[in-house]
Symmetry: C2
Subunit: 365 residues, 2 copies
């Protein structure tokens, strides 16, 4: 049994997502690129690449990772490219997407001959969090105004829209796409390809994936463009757990269990968005608050039910721990960084990366 | 000129903090241990160790770092120790501090002969943030009740209290210490040493450090204990900047400048506590919002004034970037991790650590 803490990527849980993506590609004609900002654990990229077309990125390093580890297309997007990195970006990508007309113009000469696009901000989104809302006031994410895009439209062949965020509501997606066509349709029809970004939760249960396929196909046909999707969370949802062990228990008005992990260090979004982790099973007469072991007073995974009282040595599985976790893990408090393990389709588990004291010391200087 | 982004630790800005700490030690008799959870950039530990007595920690890896890199005493505290790490904790520390009586009892046999203490939670604190408040309801941080400590008091020789948090108000500190003495005085007087933790902002301007010295000396004398302080932020405040470069500018209702860094990746507490970075200078007729380059819509350092409009290539210095920054930096979005540089007392600057694509790829698997 592996020593906790570790992230466990279960390929048999990843597979249903991959099969839905493959189905959607086939039915809609859209291509699907993994959004590395959400998940970049490259040991499963070969497996995922059988079902997806490539990767998209938010930085030079993600571009390089996509090119090096994920067979297929490599889209290069960043909120801003630096002068000293643009050559490497172009050398390692199939398309480059600029965040602004200003960036496009800055790199117009050097990127001539490359397939180029620009990010367009339609001013509407589905994010429930202001922090994560690309359409928030004064947003720096993309060009907002068709009049600002028009002058550079001849320099590019595509647009990237990214305004969905864990959107499980197809009708909402459909409406927003309609409004995008209304506002930017005349420009879209001048393009060869359109990325509709990520955040569409089409691998979720009960999502009307048939309607999505039809809508994407119609959008592609009417506008004569190749559609791209950039699933992040949708690609890896429910595929991974964070395996932890109870180290201590105490009662202080509530039953508390301290585990060998930390939300701040290992599941950061729980802290940023003030959410609770999913624990399974979550049934039984015993109520416990599961806490991390960092110094942070609010390092709390959540409160759950268990069949019996927790004790030191008990193992717990934090559910749905693939998205925006490993890509943000850090050495806060020097808490042991979780190893990364993969459960193969045959049920065997192998450790693919572990971290030790030397990694911690080398992260600083 | 070094390529941005990088953290720049300026020894001549660190020096006044060190001198205040040394003065306080001398006047009060208290010992000062650097809290590694706040700052663990070990290239300046030799320098700091001339003014401080050692380190305190929140995990095995911090214990080892303190022992290996910081001459002096090594205190080992953690919210919970694991069975498999306790031997190494003991082998690398001068004192071990348990978070609960339960942990002390669990490791009573193996730690016999070691100098041992327990964390006591006085139930009051100065934190303005519930997240960071060790006295929050149901807090797992330390033993709350003298009656629970009494039965194990003979097994230990010290207590650690940590209930201040960026507390710049001496009278508040004084009052809380008084209430600690009232509640736990009978136990404190049975101990040899008492750590009063960190979070006392005694290196700040106008802090009545003389009164603090007198109070600590009196506390030590009346209770016949060696006092320890565990400064984190107080040790490194205003010593370090995060040096960044503007990559793009745009106007979207406000003037926006995008820099080659990210609060989520490089100054995480700004995001967690929803605060703005300090920028200097911050004067002039031009108002600009300075934004990070991650995909996060809310990746914003803050809004500042500048003497003239910002342009790509401009360098900016984010102030006061030592505490809880480098220890939490992460590879979100694959944004280039800032290098770490040190400005020596003679004004020369040397790079002590850089990070590249290979570090990024190796952080995952």
């Amino acid at each position: 049994m592996l020593q906790t803490p570790y992230y466990l990527i279960d390929k048999s849980a990843l597979l249903p997502n991959m099969e839905k993506i493959a189905w959607l590609r086939e039915q809609s004609g859209a291509k699907a690129l993994l959004a590395l900002k959400c998940f970049a654990s490259w040991s499963v990229f070969d497996f995922m690449s059988e079902y997806m077309d490539g990767t998209t990125s938010s930085s030079l390093y993600e571009v390089k990772l996509g090119r090096e580890k994920f067979p297929g297309e490599t889209h290069a997007y960043s909120v801003a490219w630096a002068d000293h990195e643009i050559d490497e970006v172009l050398a390692n990508s199939d398309k480059v997407i600029f965040n602004t007309a200003g960036q496009l113009q800055r790199f117009e000469g050097v990127s001539r001959g490359h397939t180029r696009g620009i990010r367009v901000n339609p001013g509407v989104s589905t994010s429930g969090f202001d922090l994560a809302d690309p359409a928030r006031p004064f947003s720096r994410l993309g060009e907002h105004d068709a009049a600002d895009i028009e002058p550079v439209a001849d320099l590019i062949s595509g647009f990237m829209f990214h305004n969905n965020c864990e959107n499980a509501d197809f009708d909402r997606f459909d409406n927003m796409l309609g409004s995008i066509e209304q506002r930017f349709g005349h420009l879209i029809r001048r393009m060869d390809w359109i990325s509709l970004g990520g955040g569409i939760h089409f691998t979720g249960e009960d999502y009307p994936i048939h309607r999505l396929a039809e809508r994407l196909k119609r959008f592609a046909g009417e506008n004569e463009v190749q559609v791209y999707l950039e699933p992040g969370e949708a690609a890896i949802t429910k595929s991974t757990t964070l395996e932890v062990t109870v180290l201590d228990t105490l009662f202080n008005g509530k039953n508390l269990a301290i585990v060998d992990s930390s939300i701040e260090a290992h599941m950061l979004d729980l802290l940023i968005y003030r959410e609770s982790a999913k624990m399974a099973p979550n049934e039984g007469p015993e109520e416990w608050m599961v806490c991390g072991k960092s110094c942070l007073a609010g390092d709390i995974f959540g409160e759950y039910r268990f069949p019996k009282a927790l004790n030191p040595g008990d193992r717990l599985s934090v559910q749905d721990a693939a998205g925006y976790t490993m890509v943000k893990k850090n050495w806060f408090n020097g808490v042991k960084m979780p190893a990364i393990a993969i459960r193969e389709l045959d049920g065997s588990t192998r450790l693919v990366r572990d971290f030790d004291y030397n990694d911690f010391a080398a992260a600083l200087s």
